[in-house]
Symmetry: C2
Subunit: 376 residues, 2 copies
């Protein structure tokens, strides 16, 4: 892969978020912050750093107009702290107005194309994933959850779009890839644009919260929205980008591909403790050095645990950052505190999730019925 191209199927994290603006035209979120009454931790902590046309969705919220929040999560296993970020954003942006509907694509086509998981395996994982997002706060009454591979509307849009792209266009966006990944990309554009089909209420603002590395999919979907505007009336989809969390080894983004340094939402507390205790940190070689120079929270996956997920509030994040940077807080005590927070979250989440398995099954069934009843 070209190093200057974002790789939605890779493991690398984004080194320089400011470049995304200059090179790809992603706009900063900051100027829009005053429009949020209760910004989410992702917003207030600069985790959701970039956007395209987010204002259009906020207009819908302000004017009490319908909008959709759409994202896909690959059912490659239980949710982990990386997928939780996308899920948190879906939940938050759904909560902005009663007119917001979440479309959650269980991306089993991509899981097959990219990770080789069979549809049988992924359909089992899917129900647990849905219970996870319900436990994180998704309102099931305004959510449509479906498996990509079961949704003919998505397939058909993918086929329609395959005629509207050239191979050169796909190469420019994704680099030279095997056809399976190009096809998965076209089906994802189908996911993103499906909420605007006439049988699902027609054109509307759609916000896609994703990790920064997924921007190629957004560009493709926006390009296709323009190409098929005449036929479908598509409004270009909006997007909001979150920073990528570091894996516990400190290199690469946290994803299923870095299994050993991944915190999963169904890890037992003792597994989590073990992973955190062996995690890379931004600490120095000796205590003396750390007291003198301070730690480096900005390259530290343990600090990321606070910032991205487990700090009590923004002040807490700030305090941990300052104490670390000024050599007041050492890695051992910091890991211990993080461990306590993670453990409390995991225990609480497990209980909630287990109690929501039936609701997850029902949501999947109700969504299937809804999508089928709206025709093919």
């Amino acid at each position: 892969m070209d190093k200057d191209r974002l790789d939605p199927w890779g493991t690398s994290t984004v080194k320089d978020y400011s470049r995304l603006r200059s090179e790809f035209g992603i706009e900063p979120v900051a100027p829009l912050l005053p429009r949020f009454k209760r910004p989410s931790p992702h917003l207030s902590r600069g985790i959701d750093f970039g956007q395209r046309d987010l204002g259009r969705v906020l207009d819908a919220v302000d004017n009490n107009k319908p909008y959709a929040v759409m994202s896909g999560i690959k059912p490659t296993g239980d949710f982990h702290l990386g997928t939780k970020m996308t899920a948190d954003d879906m939940v938050y942006f759904q909560s902005l107005s009663k007119k917001g509907t979440v479309f959650y694509a269980v991306a089993d086509v991509e899981a097959y194309a990219d990770n080789g998981l069979s549809f049988e395996e992924t359909s089992k994982i899917a129900t647990r994933n849905v219970a996870d997002i319900l436990a994180l706060g998704l309102d099931p009454d305004r959510a449509v959850v479906y498996l990509q591979s079961e949704e003919l509307k998505v397939m058909r849009l993918g086929i329609v779009f395959s005629k509207g792209v050239t191979n050169n266009m796909l190469r420019a966006i994704y680099g030279e890839r095997q056809i399976g990944l190009y096809m998965a990309a076209l089906f994802q554009a189908g996911d993103i644009l499906m909420p605007q089909l006439p049988e699902l209420g027609g054109p509307k603002p759609v916000l896609v919260p994703v990790g920064a590395d997924q921007d190629p999919h957004i560009r493709l979907a926006r390009d296709l929205a323009a190409r098929y505007r005449e036929e479908y009336g598509f409004i270009p989809p909006s997007s909001v980008y979150h920073r990528l969390m570091l894996s516990l080894s400190g290199s690469d983004k946290m994803s299923k591909r870095t299994e050993g340094s991944l915190l999963k939402l169904d890890d037992l507390p003792r597994e989590a403790t073990r992973k955190i205790s062996t995690a890379f940190t931004g600490g120095r070689d000796t205590v003396e050095e750390q007291r003198r120079l301070g730690g480096r929270p900005d390259i530290c996956p343990v600090f990321d645990l606070y910032r991205f997920h487990f700090a009590k509030d923004d002040e807490h994040v700030h305090r941990v950052h300052e104490e670390c940077a000024h050599g007041i807080r050492l890695c051992g005590e910091c890991k211990q505190e993080a461990n306590g927070l993670v453990k409390a979250f995991l225990e609480d989440h497990r209980k909630k999730r287990d109690s929501l398995m039936k609701d997850a099954t029902e949501l999947l069934a109700r969504s299937r019925e809804y999508l089928t009843s709206t025709g093919k």
Copy 2:
């Protein structure tokens, strides 16, 4: 397109059928003819000239084992004399044994990718096409007819296969094409291999009757059958190839793309008469010359009407050929006779077809129910 490559999406006919054997490994049908109790006109007249593994299907017939006959026809309009040939073959090979089941894919994905027809348009055309093939003799009790774009089994196989092919492999078979056609090709491999899925009775011989120009699809499906044999137990699909009929202008194959020189099964007799009267022939410039040198039936689309469809029997074909080649028969009288035969067929066919529209609708509904009931 490379001239040495068969083009399943083109208009050209095949100039030299013997080359298909040497270059692509298509075997002649002739050595297998003694195995047919009642050879079809296509077989006895050398119209079905080539095959791959046809013997495997004949073994199933002889041993009273299940087999399938599978082909796809694009719903780009009413059946014409070109599509009738594929339909005739499907009907004939179904009739060889009570254990033969036809799978007829209404190739609306390909019609979209290749011809830009919307799924709404093609679904209307589909029912008329199904009535056409019923009028041609298809036994509806052993037939499954489905729209490609509605069949998740086909979509999923296409997605599975997209991971098993390389771009180079697709380029080698089809030349450099846009992704839409590659995708359509993968879904067609899904059509061809679907009858062997466990929920549809598992591995079995499958015969695909197609025009000679469609061999690239067969090669792709056979290649994929081998690649996925371990997982699915696929038996390589068999094929039988018919010669391509000339359009009435004498150049190109008869297809929807040569509209003006196309005889359609719903043409009114007077339209057919007009088209035949202006058709190109293998006749000479003057009557004197034709009497002296004879006509050229082998380049004559009017002779093709006799040979491919409307002669009373093989002897009739032979007689027309000889009378023409020896200058006994002139084009005017030959066209007149052809016209009478075509007219009688069209009138009879129209009546049958109109009376079978309800059966067609039922067959489509029954097939949909069957495929859905066998799971996704």
